[in-house]
Amino acid sequence: MSINSEYKPKIVAFCCNWCSYAGADLAGSNRLAYPENVKIIRVPCSCRVNPMFILRAFQRGADGVILCGCHPGDCHYTSGNYYTRRRMALLFSMLEYLGIEKERTRVEWVSAAEGAKFAATMNDFTQTVAALGENKRLEDLRCKR
Amino acid sequence: MHNKNDNVRSEIIRRSGVNPVKCMRCGKCTATCPAFDTMEYHPHQFVYMVESGDIEPLMNSNSLYQCLTCFACVDRCPRGVEPAKLVEAVRLEVIRKQGANHMKPDSIPAMVEEDLPQQAIVSALRKYHK
């Protein structure tokens, strides 16, 4: 990337297969643009996302991590996102306690029908993270190129 | 229609803490009301009129002062709407309108009765005198 180009944060988005990944597909089908910085990783359910994956992403230079799942009550597996909600509430609170900007992490519930919400969420999240600048506090120095 | 008197409407909703949209129009409040016969507007109408912002007629109606605040409507409402609190909020709206004066010190001597506690008169004056 050239030096002149504007700063583009790296964003990792974990999406559950049944709601949010389908919501992302719908955003695509409707040609609703969101920044290319967002890269989606498909997981069966938001509850598959281990806090370790999120920390790993930060360690390897991600500037923001967002986790999308079915709305509470709509989980394909009935209860997965309820566990996600608790796990992420505690993890995010801990990251904040360690002095990491709370805007770098987010959980958003996006249904398969909410293509527009998916795109809007990604736009907003990217902007928020871009405003924070590079993630210096959680990066693994080895991986700098 | 819902825009009519919007400021007053939202002020009354805020003051009463009642959400009139929760009303499913069953009429159990009106069925329960012991002061029904003396009222021009009945509890369910109160709720609907506040919801639709049609508050002016309520403020001008004597019904406001016929409500006994017995809270039967609040107790019975299946949706937790609490009509009596709306009535009270509209009453306060009337009171807070400048110049409105429902009780004058001069009229008190005529009210004094043996059965009526003095405290009731004092608190009524506090509330209804501007």
Binding site: Y82, Y83, M88, L90, M94, R106, D140 | -
Partner: protein, 328 residues
């Protein structure tokens, strides 16, 4: 109240060994110096009389040792448990880590244990003996000097914020039962929460960067009882023996705290054993504080079989977005 002494415990152990209730005794063994007490397994009357000790340095929580010890033989193991140890004991029972039938648990009272680090800081090196007194201790050193220190100044950090003097489980209790204490143990966490993000980051960066990845915290922790830790498992992709970068130790400690979140009984062993003096318990305690405020008070180990908050939920739990930025 009659004070429970070393002799009381030895007699109890011998009685249980003699009548065949137990075949092994988990107890504290006297060390070279008064303060270096180590955990040990005793099997004979003679060993007990010679080496068993019960004093103000009997910090070690034996709960975790039971996992390995109960696997070794069919007969029961005798274990002495201080009030805080009983919470760990219960939590391990909840997680089916050992069989209750294979343990004979004797609850013993605890008035707080001493921190040799603090004593050395106040009395200097070369300590050869520490003699307990009323509300104070007398320290003797190589140079035949004596120094008297107040108890409150030399108690371990965890005992200063002791949460309970009540045993939640035992087969037999020696001495009198105490109460659960309102200990203000979250004050320190709150202090950090009130700092600015930069200050918090600086605080933790300075603390965690001291970590040498000796794994003492993990090895002592009665909740960290995994047969194999993820950080030792090459298949986990996060295994690492040494610290290789500025984030590695944060990753380790966040994940470690997360893995014990809802299971940590706040026994404070992690901070006690840390050779670098990192206040690791403040990570665990942050999780406990959050759990209490998000999902209602929960004390791990208080009740056997209770469902830990992270393997539970309600339909109207707060959203992760609401969990952050509270009162900071």
């Amino acid at each position: 109240m009659q004070k429970i002494t070393r002799e009381n415990l030895i007699n109890k152990a011998i009685e249980l060994l003699d009548n065949g209730t137990v075949s092994r005794v988990l107890g504290w063994k006297i060390g070279e110096f008064a303060y270096d007490v180590t955990p040990a397994v005793f099997t004979t009357k003679e060993d007990l009389q010679k080496d068993f000790i019960f004093d103000d340095f009997c910090n070690a929580n034996f709960s975790k040792y039971l996992i390995a010890e109960t696997r070794k033989a069919e007969e029961k193991v005798l274990v002495f448990l201080k009030p805080c140890d009983t919470y760990s004991f219960n939590q391990l029972l909840t997680e089916h880590r050992f069989s209750r039938e294979k343990v004979y648990a004797v609850g013993i009272p605890c008035e707080g244990m001493l921190d040799i680090g603090k004593i050395k800081a106040l009395a200097g090196e070369g300590i050869i003996d520490v003699i307990p007194g009323e509300g104070s201790i007398t320290v003797k050193n190589l140079y035949e000097e004596e120094k008297t220190l107040a108890y409150g100044d030399v108690l371990t950090e965890r005992c200063l914020s002791c949460k309970s003097k009540k045993h939640v489980v035992y087969d037999e209790l020696m001495g009198e039962e105490g109460d659960v204490i309102d200990s203000n143990r979250f004050d320190e966490v709150e202090k950090i929460e009130k700092m600015s993000a930069d200050e918090r980051f600086a605080f933790w960066q300075s603390q965690l960067s001291k970590c040498i990845r000796c794994n003492a915290c993990r090895d002592i922790c009665p909740a960290c009882t995994c047969e194999k830790c993820v950080f030792d498992n090459p298949k986990s992709s996060v295994n690492n023996k040494a610290i290789s970068d500025s984030f590695e130790e944060k990753m380790f400690h966040i994940i470690r705290a997360f893995h014990v979140a809802g299971r940590c009984t706040d026994c404070g062993e992690c901070s006690r054993v840390c050779p670098q003096g990192i206040p690791l318990h403040l990570l665990n305690r942050k999780f406990i504080k959050d759990i209490n405020s998000f999902y209602g008070d929960y004390q791990a180990g208080q009740e056997e079989g209770s469902r830990a908050p992270l393997i539970n939920y309600t339909f109207d739990d707060l959203e992760p977005g609401e969990a952050v930025g509270r009162g900071v």
